[in-house]
């Protein structure tokens, strides 16, 4: 029967508790990692194949640092392994370094590592219903295993969760048999233990990540910022961090913290940013020149934004123009962010720099007037160039509301157990490209724009139930806060404050206001906390 009828394509769920631990560097010189594994794991695991160097199961799979973290949690919580936190960190670090994923293997699935959970995944057919209805499809795509280990994972699932085969979307098929006969072999082919990428990455010289970085990013409620981050190497891929910079409105930001690098490129930082604990999850490029990822609040991972770090070098670099757009025929202020910025400023064809309002080596603020055709311009300061960093446009043709599909969760007062899960919205504007039509491939991305935010019921049923009245509210910065948990006597069937909404962003400006929409599900609290969805 269709009792549990929710097919989870969107996953947006429980808070992170332990994941922060990944950023604290493990103790220096963590004795020989393999020796540490043997001392803890051989109680239950065995020295098995002489060829593979032993350690049953452990040698047959590769995972992200968070993947190893989850496995270690299970060893502790379900099987009785005990170890002090510093040894746990050292074991996870050693496992991720020696049995990790190559950058290219993790690349398509980084959103999960970045804890960016408000997205609809596109999971390949054989896995969608079999494997990605309880958790993210990236959870297994971020692992590599031997064929035997993919099959043992099926046994682990059934053993731990014996009613699995009774759920809707399992009981309509011989689940266990299909999982063993079809899914596990497919996984072994798609996500094999042995890969050329991993062999190459193991052999590669890993980038050195200590030094000085320029950061650009976004903090919900505060906006875009640029900053300098210095990473001082301590031990075992651990770094001490200092971050100092400013938001686009000129206000300062500063933070101190630490970071650990796993598998030679997986950057995990934690810092107090103006008193707010934050986490950084980034991947370093193979040449160590850049890192890219996301920064979010440690206590509310849904509140975060993209983060990019560019290593400072001996010569000038242009990293970003904020905002990245100027309207034709209008005069506006543009902040050019970079490193060692010196020399003449140019914003490309048809854009006149009227005045340099302020400048130093990190930032040049100019007043400029745009003309010429719609399109992207190169930003230059002296010899430093930033291709396509400034968009010139005539009018905003469409607004994209991000995330497109989100899940908020009621919480708080009525239900002391779980915090509310909010959603931080952003509106990204586009101008029509050469074809003059909005919504086509040649649209020009203008970047985030200020909008006015509102919510509406998702459809007639939601309107009938007054979902827009009860399910929550959105503020001027686009932060949606759901209602309180618990029954609401004002609603029928003693329902709580859940609901289905449309989130609407409106830009005035042109002849007619332009609207962008996204859909939002305000759901019940999720009581399960996971390291990775």
């Amino acid at each position: 029967m269709i009792h549990d009828y929710s097919i989870r394509t969107i996953f947006g769920a429980g808070a992170l508790v332990l994941a922060g631990a990944l950023a604290a560097p493990p103790v220096a010189g963590a004795a020989d990692g393999e020796a540490l594994l043997r001392s803890y794991c051989l109680t239950c695991h065995t020295e098995q194949g002489a060829g593979s160097g032993g350690l049953s199961r452990i040698n047959e799979m590769r995972k992200s640092p968070e993947g190893w973290h989850m496995t270690m949690n299970r060893m502790q919580n379900m099987h009785g392994l005990t170890m002090p936190p510093e040894d746990k960190r050292a074991v996870i670090k050693h496992l991720a370094d020696t049995r990790g994923l190559a950058p290219a293997e993790a690349e398509p699935w980084r959103y999960l590592l970045e804890q960016d959970t408000n997205r609809v995944e596109d999971v390949a057919e054989p896995y969608a219903e079999m494997c990605a209805r309880c958790h993210s499809g990236a959870r297994f795509a971020l692992q590599r295993r031997s064929a035997g280990e993919w099959a043992l994972l099926v046994h682990t699932h059934m053993g731990q969760n014996p009613t699995l085969e009774l759920h809707a979307l399992s009981r309509d098929r011989p689940w266990m048999q299909l999982a063993l006969d079809e899914t596990a072999p497919a996984l072994a082919a798609d996500f094999p233990l042995d890969s050329a990428e991993w062999r190459a990455w193991q052999a590669a010289v890993k980038p050195e990540l200590a030094g000085s970085w320029r950061l650009v990013g976004h903090v919900p409620g505060k906006g875009e910022f640029d900053a300098r981050m210095t990473a001082e190497g301590s031990a075992a891929d651990g770094y001490t961090l200092r971050v100092d910079g400013r938001y686009l409105d000129g206000s300062r930001l500063s933070g101190r913290g630490s970071a650990t690098v796993y598998t030679g490129y997986e950057w995990r930082g934690t810092l107090e940013l103006d008193g707010v604990p934050m986490r950084q999850v980034m991947a370093a490029a193979a040449d160590g020149a850049e890192m890219q990822g996301r920064m979010f609040r440690r206590d509310a991972r849904e509140l975060g934004g993209e983060l990019r770090a560019v290593r400072e070098g001996a010569t000038g670099q242009v990293i970003a123009a904020l905002p990245g757009h100027l309207r034709r025929g209008e005069t506006g202020i543009v902040t050019i962010v970079g490193s060692r910025l010196a020399g003449n400023v140019s914003l490309g064809a048809g854009v006149r720099v009227l005045e340099v309002l302020s400048r130093d080596a990190d930032r040049v603020v100019v007043r400029a007037r745009a003309d010429g055709a719609n399109g992207l311009r190169e930003v230059r300061v002296g010899t430093a160039r930033g291709a396509g960093m400034l968009a010139v446009y005539d009018r905003i043709a469409r607004v994209e509301v991000l995330p497109h599909n989100a899940v908020a969760r009621v919480g708080g007062p009525g239900d002391a157990q779980m915090e509310k899960v909010r959603v931080a919205y952003r509106a990204v504007a586009y101008a029509a490209g050469p074809d003059g039509e909005a919504g086509t491939d040649d649209d020009i991305r203008l970047g985030p724009v200020p909008v006015s935010w509102s919510i509406e019921p998702a459809d007639d049923d939601a309107a009938e139930a007054d979902d827009h009245v009860f399910a929550g509210s959105i503020d001027a910065d686009g932060l949606f806060t759901p209602g309180d948990a618990g029954p609401n006597p004002k609603r029928s069937m003693s329902g709580g404050n859940t609901g289905r909404l449309a989130v609407v962003a409106t830009v005035a400006g042109g002849a007619e206001p332009v609207e962008g929409r996204a859909s939002l599900l305000v759901a019940a609290p999720d009581f399960v906390r996971r390291v990775l969805d």
Binding site: H3, G159, L166, R171, D172, P487, F527
Partner: protein, 377 residues
Amino acid sequence: MSSIKPHRTAALAGLLGAAVLAAGCATKTMAPTAGVTDEYLLTVTRPGQLQVMDMQAHAILRSCDIPGKFGSGSIAPSPDGRTAFVLSNMWEDVYGIDIETCEVVFSAIQSGGDIRVKTFQSVAVSVDGRELYTVQNPVRHLPDRLEVLQPQLAVYNIADGLNAQPARTFPVNRRITKIAATATGEVILGGADVEAIDPRTGATRVVTALANWDRGPLWLPPDAFAMHSQGEHVNEYIMPYVTARFESEEWDFDAAEWWWGFSRVDLATGRAEQMEIFPLEFIIFTMVSDPNDRNILYGAFNTVSRHDVAKKETLAVEPLDHTYYAINISGDGSKLFIGGAGNDISIHDSASLAKIGSIQLPGDMSTADLRVARIRR
């Protein structure tokens, strides 16, 4: 993933329940009257009590402690009505409890050594009252891996009493939930198909092909599932299912006809009828037949409803105060008892479906059964 969320009202109801329970114990006793059949409503509540209820007075007569942790609360009454076999200890152990004395007269601890056994509601007693059947889903816990083993029917001699060991086991298919014993000596196995097994030889036969039915491409393979089955009053077993008939191979889900159907096994003969019974308009978790007219069915989940199987129609539907999982009916067909999921049993007049009473319980029923024991005096 389906998960059972804690009920917000549990704490409050716990307090109310305690008062009801105390009153019940102090004042009510079963009054044996020769030559009549007494009916007792049975369910299980957290943290682990078998509740024996008076179906006339709508009150708890007795609360018997069940060994082990809560889960699942599946119940099989013995044919003489005196013993309730309850699945407990997180779906692992079966305890036979004398419903008049609360004495634990039978136990089967199914897990042992490195094998952990779960039973998904599958508990039944043979018609002669001598054998207990369970379907065991074993998993071997090795030091560094889990190994899922073939499920099996386990046959216990009830006379073995406490710590009984299986007298025989036979392999069965996966994903079996509710089972029932027939007068012909078979055990009905409710899974992807409805099958029957001979508990002497292990021979199985298909009673009703469901997952493996052959009705052509336009019929959606049925989603058949039974967490409860309460046909003791008419000696039958119902496996409900949902299916759809498509108009064409365009597979237009909106244009398809959606149906409830069932396989209804006559436990006297082991023969079943299978058919679509009424259109799918709302979710029903359990169905019972009317003892006076088996053409009439009642169903419960968020609503209580009455259906006419021959006309393939829903005759009436009324909202319930909250979600319930299980429904049962008095032997005379006059009253519906609706429980499971929460901590109250909602009692309805079967003719009007109007609510006529309720029984507050001291704890949550969750997945527990709601069954009727009949004792002839």
